[in-house]
């Protein structure tokens, strides 16, 4: 199946500094692709490149088969964006913000009204619809900001850290709606620092680091490839405690063997824990490994990164 968004070997430079360095990824309709990376990794630059806001020094981006460089306007018609920075019009009411955006996106008449009502409903803005956005809390403004991105129901949605500053209930609601939009056929590029959100969304993941794809794949796949389950035994040691972590394939089956191995310290044993790796463990390991690599040392990601980069497609 042809991906709805294809990013193919994209390089972007800001003056002499490379911001994206050969990034490739595919995003299909009906799926969510989580874009992870430290600050400055290139996530926002990638979103800007997809909307044609920064010129590519090499590579190609297509949205719905439209080359972004050749026909920016046609590509933008297919794209809804919630940028990282909160971008709302404070003097307008919540519903005026959303209506303005619907009209600017080309909706009109009854279709526009229905779309606005749906977006208000979806982002639970009913009670806030006639309040000026400048008077709303940061989290409420963020909901208006997201509603503007989805109001025209674009087939491609770029959400750049959409849950920054929102409360847990709103975050859960936003994640639910992102999942629902994907289920309805929207292709969602979801950039975030909250790795648990990506796991909740069941998204495919691309980890960006210093403008390049460091790893890509499903959450389970990445966790399996780049991290390991372990049994952690904690022993009394002098005035403190000592934790010893032992990698295992199946913690339940292998726990007796691990305990047996440390049988001579059984009287000092104070804790047993099973450590199941998360996406966060993978992220930290890969990105810190890359740091070590660039400083001339070996690291756990040294052999993985090239293969991972290929997996970006």
């Amino acid at each position: 199946m042809t991906p709805f968004l294809r990013v193919d070997g994209v390089h972007v430079r800001y003056d002499d500094r490379p911001a994206l360095n050969g990034v490739s990824l595919d995003l299909h309709r009906g799926t969510v692709l989580g874009l992870l990376g430290h600050n400055g990794a290139g996530k926002t630059t990638l979103a800007r490149a997809v909307t044609g806001l920064v010129p590519l020094s090499a590579g190609r981006i297509t949205v719905g088969g439209v080359d972004v460089t050749r026909d920016r306007r046609a590509a933008r018609r297919l794209t809804g964006v919630a940028p990282q920075d909160l971008a709302v019009f404070p003097p307008l009411t919540a519903v005026e913000n959303i209506r303005s955006w619907a009209e600017l996106s080309g909706l009109r008449g009854g279709r526009c009204r229905r779309a606005v009502d749906e977006a208000v409903e979806m982002m639970q803005l009913g009670e806030l619809r006639d309040r000026r956005v400048g008077q709303l809390s940061g989290g409420e403004q963020r909901r208006v900001h997201c509603a503007m991105a989805i109001v025209a129901r674009p087939p491609l949605l770029l959400l750049d850290e959409p849950t920054v500053g929102v409360d847990p209930v709103t975050r859960r609601a936003i994640l639910g709606h992102v999942g629902a939009l994907a289920a309805a056929g929207t292709a969602v590029l979801y950039s975030t620092h909250y790795l648990a959100e990506v796991e909740q969304l069941g998204a495919e993941v691309v980890i960006l680091h210093r403008g390049a794809v460091l790893a890509a794949g499903g959450v389970a796949e990445l966790v399996g490839r780049f991290s390991e389950t372990a049994v952690e035994l904690t022993f009394r040691s002098g005035d403190g405690v000592e934790a010893i972590r032992t990698p295992v394939a199946d913690p339940v089956d292998e726990l007796p063997a691990v305990l047996h191995r440390f049988g001579d310290r059984r009287q000092d044993l104070v804790g047993v824990a099973i450590h199941r790796p998360s996406l966060e463990d993978v992220f930290v390991r890969l990105t810190s490994g890359e740091t070590r690599l660039t400083s001339g040392e070996t690291g756990p990601a040294s052999g993985e990164a090239p293969a991972a980069e290929e997996a970006g497609r």
Partner: protein, 253 residues
């Protein structure tokens, strides 16, 4: 609804919430005319040019306070950068030229409203008589409103912060008003300054207005000075358009 119309509607929604400066800059010239009309009567009587005080004060203060609105128009650009909405607007399938044009439509109409309002109050309260063509007067006001917007675009193009914009537009307004003959007739300026007056658009705006208001010219008669004003407007707009980089970040301070 075209993108331009949608954007103008959107700008109106935003700018109608910020009409206090426009109201102030419409009321202030009326206040100043009221206060300073006797002074103008004395000054112009001494000059014995036969031009009534209101025939100078009303166009003069209208021109000066319209120029003050250039800052208001320029703020619409800085505002969108401060709200981070400019780059978001740029993700829409709308060319930057359409966004810029649409942002200028509402300020243009506000400047025109301000000019017409000052002249209407001038006629009602200060016995201003327009001896020439009313259509000619409206044409001059329209071209001058466009000139104010062109100056505003140029100011936005060269200023990086709101503070710069305020300084440039305030000082620019006073210089253009003084030198162009909006504050006092050019003949009352120091002799060494008078040759510089025709270099300013405000001078040609005042010349055009006085040609209609005081000299009783019709549409044809006002065309020579108005043509110069139009040419200057086109020139300023062209330079502003070339220098304007709407995506270049603007800062509040």
């Amino acid at each position: 609804m075209s993108a331009l119309v949608a954007m103008v509607r959107h700008e109106w929604r935003v700018q109608r919430r910020e009409l206090a400066p426009v109201a102030m800059l419409t009321i202030m010239p009326v206040v100043l005319i009221t206060v300073l009309l006797p002074t103008y009567e004395n000054a112009l009587a001494q000059d014995a040019r036969g031009v009534g005080a209101a025939e100078h004060a009303v166009p003069g203060f209208a021109v000066m306070f319209a120029l003050f609105l250039a800052a208001h128009a320029g703020m619409t650009f800085f505002r969108d950068h401060a709200w981070h909405t400019w780059m978001r607007l740029r993700t829409l399938p709308v060319p930057a030229s359409t966004l810029v044009t649409a942002k200028l439509v509402v300020p243009f109409l506000l400047v025109l409203f301000q000019l017409v309002a000052v002249f209407a109050v001038g006629a009602a309260l200060f016995d201003l008589r327009v001896r020439g063509s009313l259509a000619g007067l409206v044409l001059v006001l329209t071209v001058f409103a466009a000139c104010v917007l062109a100056l505003s675009v140029l100011a936005v193009a060269v200023c990086r912060t709101v503070v710069h914009l305020a300084a440039v537009t305030n000082v620019g307004t006073l210089v253009l008003s003084g030198l162009g003959g909006a504050l006092v007739p050019v003949v009352l300026l120091p002799g060494w300054l008078q040759p510089l007056a025709p270099l300013t658009p405000s001078y040609w705006a005042m010349r055009s207005l006085q040609t209609v208001v005081s000299d009783g010219a019709g549409l044809t008669g006002v065309l020579p000075p108005l043509g110069v004003l139009g040419a200057m407007t086109a020139g300023v707009a062209a330079v502003g358009a070339v220098l304007l980089r709407p995506d270049r970040p603007k800062e509040a301070w």
